[in-house]
């Protein structure tokens, strides 16, 4: 695996000999895009940073169900991440970096602290301090502005954008937020021989061999799924909780990439694929995904808070075979209202799974209705 290559700070030493602008230019030319979900060009993000005091936040609050690639990197190759943070901080002229580690991964904190301590001599060269902030079990804190609120010691409600983090971010200063996988790829660019297309996919669900796989982007869905050896023939593929779902049979030859997946009305969030076997019922699965959003919504805006609860009620009713056909229309309407009127990305994407389910598996819903 490319991401497990050891750099031993060779990449960092190389960048120190370069001018800051050159470093950013090289990252831009390499074509590295954000690996968390938005696919935003990393070099451009770094270039947009303002002047004065600046901060870098490493987003290690990987909460999307079915995604565990960041944990994989922090467990297997933490020094690459720290080196990536050092290079990014040097390129942007940053002297303070926060790693926002989710509370569920608290057992990784001592390991990361040890690596930071071992790398002190390199970090001193650019006068960089790395702080590890522990989250406390919140999915919402994976959003870049919610992380800032959390670090500042506030209830993490997502901020209104614009202004964007490069203008007004943490403590009102210019801030860059990068994902673990993105930062871990940075040293490899400078080492040479880095393949831009290799990405990590987390596969889980009805599988014999669930786990993280590194594959080239654009590979067919069929090929990715076969890596993990499904227990039975796959029926539905979920792209995390907020990414929506696709029927496997119809799309098995689809090449997996940000563009091709979003053309089908889904999102390739964090590249976590949950594969459901042929015996799974779509209504039951939709209920489980809705339960996730019930648990994790912040309660700030009404459509997401109340709407998802009503969806859950309706799905429960349909699951008990007490639903009517008119309930399906109501479900569809609710799903679209919530995604159109919610305040933050959690709300707007919270019904993606249901929209896709109603689009591709309406027959199964109808079967259960009177």
């Amino acid at each position: 695996m490319q991401i497990l290559r050891k750099s031993g700070w060779a990449g960092f030493e190389k960048t120190l000999k370069m001018d800051r602008k050159e470093v950013i230019k090289k990252v831009k030319e390499s074509g590295l895009n954000g690996r968390s979900g938005c696919n935003f060009p990393t070099g451009l993000k770094w270039e947009l940073m303002g002047k004065g005091v600046r901060y870098l936040i490493c987003n290690a609050n990987e909460g999307e169900p079915g995604t565990f690639k960041d944990k994989f990197i922090m467990e297997k190759n933490p020094s690459l991440l720290i080196e990536g943070i050092a290079i990014a901080s040097y390129a942007m002229g940053i002297h303070k970096t926060f790693i926002y580690l989710r509370g569920e991964y608290s057992y990784l904190k001592p390991k990361l602290e040890r690596v930071i301590k071992q790398s002190e001599e390199y970090l001193k060269k650019i006068n960089l301090k790395i702080n590890i902030n522990l989250g406390a079990g919140s999915y919402l804190c994976g959003e870049e502005t919610a992380i800032m609120e959390s670090i500042e010691g506030k209830r993490p409600v997502v901020r209104q954008k614009p202004p964007y983090p490069p203008e007004v971010g943490l403590y009102g200063k210019s801030t860059c937020v990068n994902n673990v996988e993105t930062l871990a790829n940075v040293p490899l660019i400078f080492l040479g021989g880095w393949n831009n297309k290799l990405e990590l996919y987390s596969l889980s669900g009805d599988l014999k061999k669930p786990g993280v796989h590194e594959v080239e982007g654009g590979i067919k869905l069929k090929q990715i799924v076969s890596l993990a050896k499904p227990k039975t023939e796959p029926k539905i593929i979920y792209f995390g909780a907020s990414g929506g779902c696709l029927p496997y049979k119809k799309f098995e030859n689809l090449s997996v990439g940000y563009k091709s997946i979003s053309e089908q009305g889904c999102m390739l969030n964090g590249r976590g694929l949950i594969i459901c076997g042929k015996n799974r019922e779509i209504v039951e699965l939709s209920k489980i995904f809705t339960e996730f959003f019930l648990q994790e919504n912040c309660g700030y805006c009404t459509p997401c808070r109340e709407g998802n609860f009503r969806i859950w009620e309706l799905l429960k009713k349909i699951g008990c075979r007490k639903g009517r056909k008119s309930d399906l229309n109501l479900l569809q309407k609710l799903a679209y209202y919530i995604s159109d009127t919610s305040y933050c990305a959690l709300g707007t994407s919270s019904t993606n799974h249901l929209k896709c389910a109603l689009k591709y598996f309406k027959g199964e819903f109808l079967k259960l209705c009177k």
């Binding site: 990987e62 909460g63 999307e64 169900p65 079915g66 995604t67 565990f68 944990k71 989710r102 509370g103 569920e104 991964y105 608290s106 057992y107 902030n133 522990l134 989250g135 406390a136 079990g137 919140s138 999915y139 959390s150 670090i151 500042e152 010691g153 506030k154 209830r155 993490p156 987390s202 889980s204 669900g205 009805d206 669930p210 786990g211 993280v212 979920y238 909780a241 976590g272 949950i274 459901c276 076997g277 799974r280 699965l285 489980i288 995904f289 339960e291 996730f292 648990q295 994790e296 912040c298």
Partner: protein
């Protein structure tokens, strides 16, 4: 109170942020009671509502008394597909039920969202320790092993 004062002093020295202060307080006090939050609020001159707003938001900051061991069973799709409901059934046999604390104040059981162990499901956390690939004998041994 001595330990709490020490934590407050650390916060004043900016050794950690407010969220970490509350997390550390949970470690010392077990949970964030009204009195504890009030005490922090008066000492740091932070409105009580703000503190309670934070405490009630995060799932790892309990505002009510919990058992000695807080069991958090992952209820996310990947674990659900691989038998998280059976884990709950087995725990029920020990008298541990979802959302409740056992009478001897030893266990509290909660459902949690994904804990990032989708590659080794079903999984649960007990306090800060993660247990993966659970089955009947494994759960039996874990629960019996906790004193």
């Amino acid at each position: 109170m001595k330990k709490l004062n020490l934590l407050i002093l650390k916060y004043k020295k900016e050794e950690f942020n407010l969220l970490s202060l509350l997390e550390e307080t949970v470690k010392v006090k077990g949970f964030l009671s009204f009195e504890t939050l009030n005490y922090i609020s008066k000492n740091l001159k932070i409105p009580l509502a703000k503190l309670y707003g934070m405490a009630s938001f995060y799932s790892f900051l309990p505002t009510a008394k919990t058992g000695k061991y807080v069991i958090r069973v992952c209820n996310s799709p990947s674990c659900y597909l691989n038998g998280s409901q059976e884990v709950l059934e087995i725990l029920k046999k020990f008298g541990i039920e979802v959302g409740k604390t056992t009478k001897n104040r030893k266990f509290t059981l909660e459902l949690t969202s994904c804990i990032g162990c989708c590659d080794s499901p079903p999984a649960m956390m007990i306090n800060n320790k993660v247990y993966k690939n659970l089955d009947k004998t494994k759960i039996w041994n874990i629960i019996k092993g906790l004193k």
